[in-house]
């Protein structure tokens, strides 16, 4: 080192300090020196600033350029310092080396700088940066806003998701409930079908049996396994099998709850080949899997038998009625004819013998005719009695008041009987003939047996819900309670027939009529206090045809 320095120092002896060039003019020298010092100072300070800057701004792009600037500026500063030094000390080789270094670095820097310019130009200017920044800020704001909205949306979404989840859960619950209900319903259905006292068969649209119950098994003599999956036609008798699919199709075309084959007699075919009469009700069942038919089958063998029995009874009844009619005709015609003959002959005899006949004989003839009349009356009454309930009467409007007046007028034309009607008597639709017969007989009795000076008959009515209660009262002699039940017997009279002509059938007849049509009769009477016959008559007569045996 020292040797180099020495070298330099020795070399330097030859050169003139730079001050010589300026002729050691103080002002000029100090201008150059001063300027160089300032420059050097600046050129030392600037790199420091740059290095500090670089050091501080670690993210600086092209920071090596800054270093390089620092370096070459530093070198340049050193050059100027050398200028100062060489003002007095002519170390021009040193100065030159320093300049060379500076030049090199500068050149490198310059060279390196040019390609950098385009790149640096591309770097956004502060204004651009600001714009970009502003834009970025805008974008950021926007993004924030969007982010906020997003968050809001997210919140809402989450909320909705929660709701939906809740809904789904509820739906799931109710679905599960529905499923369990449906299962229960199906179970109930199966139980109901199984428990039915009728044979139940469910058939699908192709006519295949899908469900049966145990009653069906019993009815047709098959096991369940033989029926399910088989065509329904296997239970139909051969002669109807051909038409059955067509009928099935017709039903499915317009399914509705109805009786199968409404006018026909239906039959089912058991496994044994035996046929049973049945009644079939059809119910369409609409499910998600399609339309089915649930048929209800009743074995009507018993009912048919009962119907047959009933028909037999009806025929028997018709026959017995026909017999009665015959009997009635005979009784009225053939039995009466001799009686009429007897009467006429007795009249003829009386006429022929009137000159020689004695009073007693005449009396006997009269008695004879009386007996004949009595017999005729018996026959008539007996016939009427037998006919009660066997003859179809018509419903007619009956004015009871008119009926009473008429009855009074025909019961005793030779007696003046006053009739007292209490309250309005009804006019209603009923069986006229039987009701008339009841009134006629009771009024006839009230008049016939009435020995009062001013015979009077009282008729009144009471409404008792679904029936009327009529009362026929008289001011006759009254009837001892001892005889109250006897007088309703057949051929029962309380006075000898010669005293009071009467077949004794009247009350028996009345009682039979009332029994037939749903009425009742009772008597209120004591000796000397007249009699009151009460009878009830339904407002609506329930059955009018003869009862089955």
């Amino acid at each position: 080192m020292n040797s180099i320095l020495h070298e330099f120092h020795s070399v330097a002896q030859y050169f003139m300090p730079h001050g010589h060039c300026m002729l050691w003019q103080k002002e000029l020298i100090w201008l150059h020196v001063g300027s160089d010092l300032v420059i050097a100072a600046s050129y030392y300070s600037i790199p420091i600033a740059l290095v500090y800057f670089v050091h501080k701004r670690k993210d600086l792009v092209f920071n090596w350029m800054f270093i390089m600037f620092g370096v070459f500026i530093f070198a340049c500063g050193t050059t100027h310092l050398m200028n100062v030094w060489t003002m007095w000390q002519p170390y021009y080789w040193l100065e030159g080396i320093v300049k060379m270094v500076t030049g090199t670095v500068s050149m490198i820097t310059a060279v390196a700088l040019w390609p950098l310019i385009p790149r640096a130009l591309r770097l956004p200017s502060p204004r651009q940066l600001q714009i970009v920044n502003e834009k970025l800020e805008e974008e950021i704001k926007e993004k924030n806003r969007v982010a906020d909205e997003l968050r809001l949306a997210q919140d809402r979404l989450e909320h909705r998701i929660q709701e939906r989840t809740e809904e789904l859960w509820q739906a799931n619950q109710s679905l599960q409930r529905e499923i369990s209900e449906r299962n229960q319903a199906e179970e109930k259905f199966r139980l109901a079908v199984e428990a039915s006292p009728n044979g139940m068969i469910m058939v699908d649209q192709s006519g295949t049996i899908v469900l049966v119950n145990s009653e069906t098994e019993k009815l047709f003599g098959y096991d369940r396994s033989e029926l399910v999956g088989a065509p329904i036609e296997m239970l139909v008798p051969n002669r109807f099998r051909g038409d059955h699919p067509h009928e099935r199709a017709a039903f499915f075309a317009t399914p509705s709850k109805r009786r199968m084959g409404a006018a026909r007699d239906l039959h089912g075919r058991r496994k044994s080949g035996e046929e049973i009469p049945v009644e079939i009700g059809l119910n369409p069942v609409i499910t998600d899997n399609g339309v089915f038919v649930l048929s209800s089958i009743i074995d009507i063998t018993e009912r048919k038998n009962a119907e047959n029995r009933q028909t037999l009874y009806a025929r028997e009844l018709e026959r017995s009625n026909a017999e009665l009619e015959q009997f009635a005709y005979i009784a009225s015609h053939d039995l009466r004819a001799p009686l009429r003959a007897i009467n006429k002959l007795s009249l003829c005899i009386e006429e022929d013998l009137q000159d020689v006949m004695q009073n007693e004989t005449r009396e006997m003839m009269t008695l004879m005719r009386g007996r004949v009349d009595r017999m005729k009356q018996f026959l008539d009454d007996l016939l009427e009695f037998a006919r009660v309930g066997k003859v179809q009467h018509q419903h007619e409007m009956v004015d009871v008041e008119k009926l009473i007046w008429y009855a009074i007028s025909i019961s005793s034309p030779w007696k003046h009987v006053s009739c007292n009607i209490v309250g309005p008597l009804p006019t209603f639709e009923t069986l006229k003939v039987p009701l008339e017969q009841v009134f006629f007989n009771l009024i006839d009795n009230a008049v016939k047996h009435n020995d009062a000076a001013q015979p009077a008959v009282t008729v009144s009515v009471e409404e008792l819900g679904d029936r009327f209660r009529f009362t026929i009262g008289d001011n006759g002699p009254g009837i001892d309670p001892v005889y109250h039940s006897r007088i309703f017997g057949m051929f029962q009279t309380l006075k000898p027939r010669d005293q009071k002509e009467g077949s004794g059938m009247g009350l028996a007849f009345v009682q039979k009529i009332l029994l037939q049509y749903g009425g009742t009769i009772d008597l209120e009477s004591t000796v000397g206090a007249g009699a009151r016959f009460h009878f009830t008559w339904p407002k609506k007569i329930v059955f009018t045809t003869p009862p089955p045996p």
Binding site: H333, A337, R340, A341, N343, K344, L345, L347, C348
Partner: protein, 148 residues
């Protein structure tokens, strides 16, 4: 005043009666009553439609007075309606005067009788008065009408 020989004084007019009745008592009674009438000369009694037709086609030809028929309906062998049917289709017997005297109150019997042109339909009665009215009617009838 010329009196034509054939013309009979109405007051002297007589008829014969044919009683078609199977009940002997009824026949007896009506014979008695009709017999009292001056207008009735002879009463012929037969017991059914067959005998009646036999009589009309046989012995009746000998009768030269008008014939009035009293006809019961309920007769054996041939009843009253059948008899009427027969005479109304017979050329000679068509114009016979027939009174139906029966117990039948059946409306269809009455209708059938009048369909076959009876002079009257009378229901047998036990009443003495009714019988007297009947005989009075026969008397008036014979006196008043002109026979076919």
């Amino acid at each position: 005043m010329t009196i034509r020989c054939n013309e009979t004084n109405k007051r002297d007019r007589v008829v014969d009666m044919l009683l078609v009745e199977d009940d002997s008592v009824d026949a007896l009674v009506i014979k008695r009553e009709l017999g009292k009438l001056h207008v009735v000369r002879t009463i012929h009694v037969v017991s059914d439609g067959v005998e009646a037709l036999d009589f009309l086609r046989g012995d009746a030809r000998q009768i030269h007075v008008p014939l009035v028929v009293i006809l019961d309906l309920n007769l054996p062998r041939m009843n009253g309606i059948e008899f009427l049917e027969r005479i109304r289709t017979d050329a000679e017997l068509r114009h016979l005067i027939v009174f139906v005297w029966t117990t039948s109150t059946v409306a269809s019997d009455r209708a059938k009788a009048y369909d076959r042109n009876v002079a009257g339909y009378i229901i047998k009665s036990d009443d003495v008065e009714e019988m007297q009215k009947f005989t009075a009617m026969i008397e008036s009838y014979v006196h008043v009408i002109e026979f076919p």
